[in-house]
């Protein structure tokens, strides 16, 4: 049985690490969930990321899937209160204060400065998900095919994932 308080503290940290693009939390999420706590395997981590991409709405809904799998509805509450709610509350409070004061040239500087940080985190996230998901020739071909499809024609990612599911189902063992 998973310790909900421990899960909450991990989510609290991950929420504050989601800077720029939420995929940036993937390396630290992998470290916590797979390496440190052993809550899931490599393959389960990669699958959870993929399944999270199927859901409509904000990025990182994979946290809801993962927390539900780990601890049912209690897990869902922990992900909501640990990962999503604290940063949303800070945003709301900060926006109220921020709009009460004059614009600063540092705003743009901070955004410019955080862009490469966020990109570095995302590339690390890709590495994390990629090495868990691409385990043989077949998965490598599927990953390249998905990337190629997105590059050449701007299809909805949900369609690419659905196509991959069909390919996986039809492929030999």
């Amino acid at each position: 049985m998973i310790d909900l308080l421990e899960l909450y503290l991990v989510y609290l940290k991950l929420g504050f690490l989601a800077i720029g693009g939420a995929a940036g939390v993937l390396p630290e999420m992998y470290r916590e969930f797979v390496v440190v706590h052993g809550w899931m395997t490599d393959a389960e981590f990669a699958q959870a990321y993929a399944i999270g991409q199927l859901a409509p709405g904000p990025n990182m809904l994979m946290q809801m899937y993962v927390s539900y799998q780990l601890a049912g509805f209690g897990g869902l509450a922990v992900a909501l209160l640990g990962f999503f709610a604290p940063t949303a509350a800070i945003c709301a409070a900060f926006s109220r204060w921020w709009y009460g004061r004059a614009a600063s040239p540092w705003t743009a500087a901070i955004i410019r400065g955080l862009a490469p940080v966020a990109l570095g985190l995302m590339v690390s996230g890709l590495w994390t998900v990629g090495q868990a998901a691409i385990v043989d020739g077949k998965t490598a071909v599927i990953a390249l095919g998905a990337a190629g499809l997105m590059l050449t024609r701007r299809v909805n990612p949900v369609i690419v994932i659905a196509l991959a599911a069909v390919v996986g189902y039809l492929s030999p063992v």
Partner: protein, 178 residues
């Protein structure tokens, strides 16, 4: 800015959250809150987006919390946050039960492995698309490489890496450097 009734605002948040498949949610927000309803001016919307990106947390949750706060205060922010997560969470809980039910099937494992590989490919393309946003100071490429090196090669935890590198990155991109 015209403040809509709370129920109307939440209804539209729910609609966007239920229909924005495959990313690009910012465009949905813009369409509904600026173009279709006029609830926010273009400038207000982009200010809210900027703040949402600047602060930690998933951007598309942050921005709806900021807009909820703008219209109705903390209650609006809290309700908007919950509503934006609701449709996707409902779908994922359903999927989790479905996958658990068919897990013993070997075809399920093949499908899941294929889906995971495709998602990695998609993430690669997202990064390719976002990369131009990081062209700023000359050293930005170095910053990207340093972060990847520390996290993946040296395997340091993310907190000290971000705390050490982010201030340097912001300083290198300080006002007047562009």
């Amino acid at each position: 800015m015209t403040q809509p009734p709370l129920a109307k605002f939440l209804g539209r948040v729910l609609f966007i959250a239920a229909t924005a498949f495959g990313g690009g949610m910012g465009a949905h927000y813009y369409h509904h809150f600026v173009e279709r309803t006029g609830w926010l001016s273009r400038d207000q919307f982009f200010q809210d987006m900027t703040l949402a990106q600047l602060l930690p947390g998933p951007n598309m949750v942050n921005v709806v919390a900021i807009i909820g706060q703008r219209f109705y205060g903390p209650l609006g922010a809290a309700l908007a946050t919950m509503v934006v997560l609701l449709p996707g969470t409902t779908l994922l809980v359903g999927l989790a039960s479905l996958i658990a039910a068919v897990q013993a099937n070997t075809a399920t494992a093949r499908v899941m492995d294929a889906v995971a590989a495709a998602a990695a490919g998609l993430l690669a393309m997202t990064i390719v698309r976002l990369a131009p946003s990081a062209k700023g100071a000359r050293f930005n490429v170095v910053i990207v490489l340093v972060i990847v090196g520390l996290l993946i090669v040296v395997r340091l935890p993310m907190v000290p890496v971000v705390l050490a590198v982010a201030p340097i990155a912001i300083f290198l991109n300080r006002p007047g450097t562009r």
